[in-house]
Amino acid sequence: MDLAFSEAESALRDRARAWLRAHVPAEPLPSLETEEGFAAHRAWEAELAADRWSVVNWPAEYGGRNASLVGWLLFEEEYYAAGAPGRVSQNGIHLLAPTLFDFGTAEQRARVLPPMARGEVVWAQAWSEPEAGSDLASLRSRAVRTEGGWLLSGQKTWSSRAAFADRAFGLFRSDPDAPAPHQGLTYLMFDLRAPGVTVRPIRRMDGRPAFAELFLDEVFVPDEDVIGEPGRGWRIAMSTAGNERGLMLRSPGRFLAAADRLAALWRARGSPEWARDRVADALIGARAYQLSTFAAASRFLDGERIGPESSLNKVFWSEYDIALHETALDLLGEEGEWADTEWAERYVFSLAGPIYAGTNEIQRDIIAERLLGLPKGRR
């Protein structure tokens, strides 16, 4: 049992640190959830990709560096410690790409991954529907067979990044007669600018269009944009959800950097006694999450897959993130009310954490039933 890193991992971390020092913008980019900010973040993705820093753990043929999982975690620590911008391509890189590595064809990987790595194609997710949220398997948007592909119709909602993104991926009901709700679903990729697609941005609580509704009216999707076997989409999507809740969506580097920023803010404000415990707990929580992730990465390297224990992570980091940012706003005093600060932007973002990627209520059900073995009951 150890916490030592290989020479390759340490070398990767050192190179990343040097590159970031030279490239991270001195001034923060405009908010990712605005048209101007989205474009700026897309350009940043291209800058990362030009030197192969956008997807370090991918194979080199798709723009990566073949970094190990641990190497990726160290890269993430450096990335957020350097104060680098948020990742506009996150949904594609951490949700769609792992699915393509597991279930896609070589042709799909060659076509989809390199432009994703360069930020040329930014992906949105299309899971939830107005009547299918936590009960995702009840979704009703349909994929109907047509010559050479499928016609998508229906409505998706809470589609993060979709206001400005290029393409989307999600689940559609391809066999309405299947015996159970989670059967007869197909996993597809589609163009947000294809004929029949209407994107209606939804303003988040601070007024910014962080997500959108998608209205689909017989949108044609060619067969080559189906991932895996038609009708098997649920199993494929659940593997994506496992990645999302597990290691990839929120790397510890983010929270280590946020906790350090909070501690610096606390000290800058004269280390007030009333905030002492909360600041200490933020530092402790980041360390706990970092070490827990190292343990999960070690299990991964032993050949285990991330299962229901990823629900522990989701509950932990989402509650942690809000507590940390509430402390920051309290430390800021009157300035804590200002909407135009980075702390405020991050606070507003943190509030969504317990809701997206499977609500924390669903996660607690999973923990109770699948990790603790408690009997199933009515939801």
């Binding site: 280590l256 501690a263 343990a295 509950v315 607690r364 109770a368 603790l372 408690l374």
Partner: protein
């Protein structure tokens, strides 16, 4: 990097678990709480024979060399089984007395030690063969002990000690206190795991409204939160055992103790009135979790140590 117990460490944990499960540990706890030590001493001997105390002693003192990871793993099991006695204190004494002939007898289980530090009371001075007092002036022996003062945890018997003969003016106090805090954190984590396990079993069996109460979301979610807290304390304890940095150890201590106590509150609530009785195993475990919060570094001291940081080493 492989931040998981290896096969040998896992085998050590399961053999300790098997031994403690086969021994009548609950009876030892009940008798210990009444000041009857015979069964507890027999168990102590088996724990020593299992090699636990040797993990805190150098090879030339009859131990295995200092093995903090194995110690932490062992103390999680000792906590899970609610083993009574001055376990942490004996480990602490083994470090304080490094190089003395007494260490061999601590390792073998022949001598049970307790240590007072920061206050007059030491755990189980009535049962211990060797009573030590650690102050800034050095390490002292206490000849006798004062009357037993009841703890919230009936199996923890507090006894006042006095500074007697000076044994060592400059004992390795820093290392000893670090291990005391680390092993207390591990013991607390084990206590919390036991509380969660018992409660999961209870709510799976207890039926109301015709179904197990564990099928209700209000019950499930409370236990899920207890599980989250314990599972994020675990890597802190093992990480602290690897780095031995004061900030990591303090972080592990406060987090494990809060998680254990939180599990205790959930356990009490979800057992209902039966959990509030002296007969039910839940109440002494909750009381132990409460007591361990302040033993060898209270939450305030631990958070201070974290803020003095750095809480994490830059890896490399």
């Amino acid at each position: 990097m492989r931040f998981l117990p290896d096969a040998e460490q896992r085998a050590f944990v399961s053999s300790l678990d098997a031994m403690l499960s086969a021994a009548d540990t609950p009876a030892a706890v009940r008798e210990w709480s009444r000041g009857e030590h015979a069964r507890g001493r027999a168990l102590w001997g088996r724990i020593a024979a299992g090699g636990v105390f040797g993990l805190a002693a150098r090879e030339e003192d009859g131990g295995f060399g200092l093995r903090p990871v194995e110690l932490a793993l062992a103390f999680m099991e000792l906590g899970r089984h609610a083993v009574p006695g001055p376990l942490v204190e004996t480990v602490t004494a083994a470090v304080l007395l490094t190089g003395s002939g007494t260490v061999k007898r601590l390792v073998s289980g022949e001598v049970m030690a307790t240590v007072a530090h920061g206050g007059p009371y030491a755990l189980d001075g009535d049962a211990a063969d060797l009573r030590l007092v650690l102050t800034e002036d050095g390490l002292f022996r206490s000849g006798g002990h004062g009357p037993v003062r009841a703890s919230l945890d009936p199996a923890r018997r507090l006894t006042a000690l006095e500074r007697g003969e000076l044994l060592d003016a400059r004992p390795p106090a820093g290392r000893a206190l670090a291990l005391a805090r680390l092993t207390t954190a591990a013991q607390a984590l084990g206590t919390g795991l036991a509380l969660l396990e018992r409660t999961v079993t209870h709510v799976g069996r207890r039926t109301q409204f015709g179904v197990p109460v564990g099928s209700f979301q209000a019950v499930k979610h409370r236990l899920a939160d207890a599980k989250v807290a314990l599972e994020f304390a675990r890597p802190l304890v093992l990480g602290a055992a690897l780095t031995l940095s004061p900030a990591d150890i303090a972080a592990a201590k406060v987090t494990a103790c809060e998680a254990a106590y939180g599990a205790g509150r959930a356990a009490l609530q979800l057992h209902g009135a039966i959990g509030y009785t002296a007969e039910c195993a839940v109440s002494p475990l909750l009381a132990k979790a409460r007591a361990l919060r302040t033993a060898w570094g209270d939450p305030r001291e631990c958070r201070d140590a974290v803020l003095r940081g750095p809480v994490r080493r830059r890896p490399g």
